[in-house]
């Protein structure tokens, strides 16, 4: 990993008095940042979105978005990049620094084979042919890929997880001593996120300097030695990870995370900067979401009876596709009135496909869905109004599920008008009340969808489904576009909005706190099958951490200084 070009005592990156200004704006994007990334350690920068993390990550490499001016110093292995002409900076970076961006799959060249691109990148740090070949092999192995199996492939032939690891290999193959990781776990399911965290730690232990930009506090706790807190472009707090963040705060169920997450039990001291305290408080609130769940969850023996006569029941669902099998099935599941179920599992395991079958949006090749014992037609357009009422599905991309040019008030009222036969005014009034509970005021509903934010539309989609008073409400990643405050409010309000003794809830989510707060039962999907079922509280840590095997030697890593 270590390039032998610079003396080892020079830190891979030293940033001094770095500021960034966007053209035509007063407020600086970054102001007076001082930061060093020593070799063999992980330095994390945390902060809410918009605090300047990405700008800092680019600036560390002497780069910036179009129209952004950098001042100060960004010293990479002894060279101040900002003193160089922009055109000469790539050469100064070559073989010394590498970056892994937010959505790694998008930076892989779709038209080139993996091996060719890696060899080109290896040439940046290795002059001889044998050295390049060896570097490619080592980088792929370090990223957890089989070099021989992958070299001749195109990126689109790899799974999401493999693409992510390949992007990491692209960063490693240059032999860089500095790695900049920008929100490396965004969009990853817990299993992949966790694996990535371990790889990063291994790399740092091997001598690389890592700059980690993230808002994923558990990841930072697991991997970082030092933390800098960024707020409005300023470094407001810094220190060893354990001192700044404590050891996971008020995790209500420490066993739920992988064992080594319990590294320290030190609570953050009360004299930290308000921004740090706010980040920790938001994390604590989300984790404690469980506490607001009313004790009325219908898990008293009414669930897990596939032949249960009441409510929505799916039996033997199989979906076949010509290419790939997102849902192999067969899956059977019952949703008696009042039950709260969560579907968990890695991306691509068939959760969404199964949910769409329930709603009649995807046609299964086998199996049927029944409501109170009577069959529901497979396709939603064949269902009667009463049958459509039975299952309501809220899309993962629900912000895109509204007609562009109609005011939301009308669109939300349609459900109750068409499915329950209410008059238009009654339907509108009911939708308005439900929207109010979720914090959407009436003025907002008079607008057309293009004038609302993604999070607001996601809540509107929920209201639209709820006014059907369905027997089963399916929420597919409904919290993904919500900020922390809206998410808390939704977790708090949703249970109250379900019709007691009628509506069952099915949620699909990667977000463990949301699942714990809203669901009583959980079903774990993998490879298109439901492989495990049980009460949420009794699920083993495997489900949350996503680790395939919590091996016997899962002890803490050696303590690191800070």
């Amino acid at each position: 990993m270590t390039a032998a070009r610079t003396p080892l005592d020079t830190p891979p990156l030293a940033i001094q008095d770095l500021s960034a200004h966007a053209e035509g704006t007063e407020r600086p994007l970054l102001e007076g940042i001082e930061l060093a990334v020593p070799a063999g350690s992980v330095t994390a920068v945390i902060g809410p979105s918009g605090s300047g993390k990405t700008t800092l990550g680019l600036a560390a490499l002497g780069a910036s978005r179009h129209g952004v001016r950098l001042t100060g110093q960004a010293v990479l292995a002894g060279t101040d990049l900002l003193l160089l002409e922009p055109a000469r900076r790539p050469a100064a970076r070559a073989g010394r620094a590498a970056q892994l961006p937010q959505h790694p799959a998008t930076v892989l060249d779709p038209v080139r084979r993996v091996g060719g691109v890696l060899t080109e990148l290896a040439a940046l740090g290795h002059a001889d042919r044998a050295g390049r070949k060896e570097a490619v092999r080592r980088a792929l192995a370090a990223a957890g890929l089989d070099p021989d199996a992958i070299r001749r492939r195109f990126p689109h032939q790899l799974s999401g997880g493999q693409q992510q690891r390949l992007a990491l290999a692209c960063a490693l193959v240059t032999g860089a001593r500095l790695l900049v990781l920008d929100e490396p776990t965004s969009g990853l399911d817990p299993a992949l996120a966790h694996a990535l965290g371990r790889t990063v730690r291994t790399l740092a232990d091997g001598g690389a300097g890592v700059l980690l930009l993230s808002h994923d506090l558990p990841l930072v706790r697991d991997t970082a030695d030092r933390v800098t807190v960024l707020e409005h472009g300023r470094a407001v707090d810094a220190g060893p990870t354990a001192t700044v963040l404590g050891g996971g705060g008020a995790d209500p169920d420490p066993g739920a995370r992988a064992p080594h997450a319990r590294r320290s039990t030190v609570e953050p001291s009360a004299d930290r900067h308000p921004a740090t305290r706010e980040l920790l408080a938001a994390e604590r609130r989300t984790r404690a979401g469980q506490a607001v769940t009313p004790g009325t969850a219908g898990n008293d023996g009414t669930t897990s009876a596939p032949e249960g006569p009441r409510g929505v029941v799916a039996r033997g669902i199989v979906v076949r596709r010509r290419a790939g099998d997102p849902l192999a099935g067969p899956v059977s599941m019952a949703f008696p009135p009042g039950s709260r179920t969560a579907l968990l599992g890695p991306s691509g395991s068939g959760k969404t496909t199964f949910a769409r079958v329930l709603a009649g949006l995807t046609t299964p090749s086998q199996g049927d869905v029944r409501m109170d014992g009577g069959p529901l037609p497979r396709r939603v357009d064949r269902r009667t109004a009463a049958q459509r009422r039975a299952v309501q599905y809220v899309h993962q991309t629900s912000a895109d599920s509204f007609a562009e040019r109609r005011p939301l008030r009308e669109q939300l009222a349609d459900t109750a008008r068409l499915l329950r036969g209410l008059r238009a005014e009654e339907a509108a009034a009911e939708a308005k009340d439900l929207a109010g509970v979720l914090g959407l005021d009436e003025a907002l509903l008079l607008r057309t969808p293009d004038r609302l934010s993604g999070g607001q539309l996601q809540r509107c989609a929920l209201v639209r489904a709820l006014t059907a008073r369905p027997a089963l409400l399916v929420c597919d990643e409904v919290t993904s576009a919500l900020d922390t405050v809206s998410r808390e409010r939704l977790i708090e309000a949703l249970p109250r909005m379900l019709v007691p003794d009628r509506t069952a809830l099915l949620i699909i989510s990667h977000d463990a706190p949301v699942v714990r707060a809203l669901a009583a039962e959980a079903a774990w999907f993998d490879g298109g099958r439901c492989v495990r079922r049980g009460p949420v509280d009794e699920l083993p840590p495997i489900v949350w951490s996503g680790e395939p095997e919590p091996g016997p030697g899962g002890a803490d890593r050696p303590a690191r200084g800070g």
């Binding site: 680019l58 490499l61 780069a63 055109a87 790539p90 050469a91 100064a92 970076r93 070559a94 073989g95 010394r96 620094a97 590498a98 970056q99 961006p101 959505h103 998008t106 930076v107 892989l108 060249d109 779709p110 038209v111 080139r112 691109v117 080109e120 990148l121 940046l124 195109f154 990126p155 689109h156 692209c170 960063a171 240059t174 860089a176």
Partner: protein, 315 residues
């Protein structure tokens, strides 16, 4: 890869079959046949009937299709109804003239479009970029016959520079006097060169600012390597399909250009055959033109799939 090649080739075979059936069916659907045309209004019904038997026009349709297909396989395209000479002979005489038009035009487009497209994609907003963009907008829809006549009026008539027509010249005469070909080749090239250049330019400009190129620069890759190894290959996939459209468009363009400049190539031969309703000739031309189109599209789709395997292209 193999699955796509098979599926795409099957489609091409189906297209060829469809063309064969359609081209033949056309002949049997004629309201009057060649015998009527040959005899004109003066022939008695008896004469027309005799001619019909002589030409084999009174056989059932399937039998004639079978004869025709058998002949095709043996390389026999039939005899022209007007002149009685073999159609293949006529095609052979004309193909040289069309080649003198089409080959230089294709070479120009193939060589210049990637070059100009890359340069203007790398220098967005430069003078070259703006000029090419304006030319593409101007030339995109103007039919070749209009462009040809306007050029003749400007260059030959007003400026007195180049010959305006090549009426009656055969391949040898054209080769002896290449100045005659300058205007026809320019007209045939201009529109497609602009279209293809624009396609390459869009791909290069998008790729250059794309996440892949940006990231490679962040990793320290040299700009030259980024452009030549990543941006250009990404832009060529869609351009190859546009290239197939160019070849296809040039077939139609050749018909118009030959008509304007009085060249006796395949295009004007086709037009004459259509006007004479000389069925064997029309069938031969239609098969030739359709066959080239199907083949070019097949080659382009396979090449595009190889260049950009993620975009599975349907023909």
């Amino acid at each position: 890869m193999r699955g796509y090649v098979l599926r795409r080739s099957l489609l091409a075979v189906l297209q060829c079959l469809m063309v064969l059936v359609a081209v033949f069916a056309l002949g049997s659907l004629l309201p009057g046949d060649t015998a009527d045309v040959l005899r004109g209004e003066h022939g008695t019904p008896a004469q027309v009937a005799a001619l019909r038997t002589q030409l084999g026009l009174d056989e059932p349709a399937w039998a004639r299709f079978w004869h025709w297909l058998g002949g095709l396989c043996a390389g026999d395209l039939g005899n022209s109804l007007m002149t009685g000479t073999p159609v293949a002979e006529d095609l052979g005489r004309r193909i040289g003239v069309t080649a003198l038009l089409g080959v230089p035009a294709l070479v120009l487009v193939t060589a210049l479009a990637p070059l100009l497209g890359t340069v203007s994609g790398l220098r967005e907003g430069s003078r070259l970029d703006r000029a090419l963009n304006s030319a593409a907008v101007l030339l995109h829809a103007v039919p070749e016959f209009v462009l040809g006549l306007l050029l003749v009026a400007a260059v030959s008539l007003a400026a007195g520079l180049l010959p305006a027509t090549a009426v009656g010249m055969d391949t040898a005469a054209l080769l002896a006097q290449p100045a005659v070909l300058v205007l026809p080749v320019s007209v045939l090239t201009a529109r497609h060169l602009c279209d293809l250049t624009r396609q390459v330019r869009v791909g290069v400009a998008a790729g250059r600012h794309g996440t892949v190129a940006t990231h490679l620069r962040l990793l320290g890759m040299r700009e030259r390597t980024v452009v030549l190894r990543h941006v250009l290959p990404g832009a060529l996939g869609p351009a190859v399909q546009q290239y197939a459209r160019c070849v296809e468009g040039m077939l139609g363009g050749a018909v118009l250009v030959e008509a304007v400049f009085g060249l006796r190539g395949l295009g004007s031969g086709f037009v004459e055959a259509v006007q004479n309703r000389d069925l064997p000739q029309v069938q031969a031309y239609a098969l030739l033109f359709a066959g080239v189109t199907v083949a070019v599209n097949l080659a382009a789709d396979l090449a595009a799939y190889r260049l950009a395997p993620r975009r599975e292209v349907t023909a």
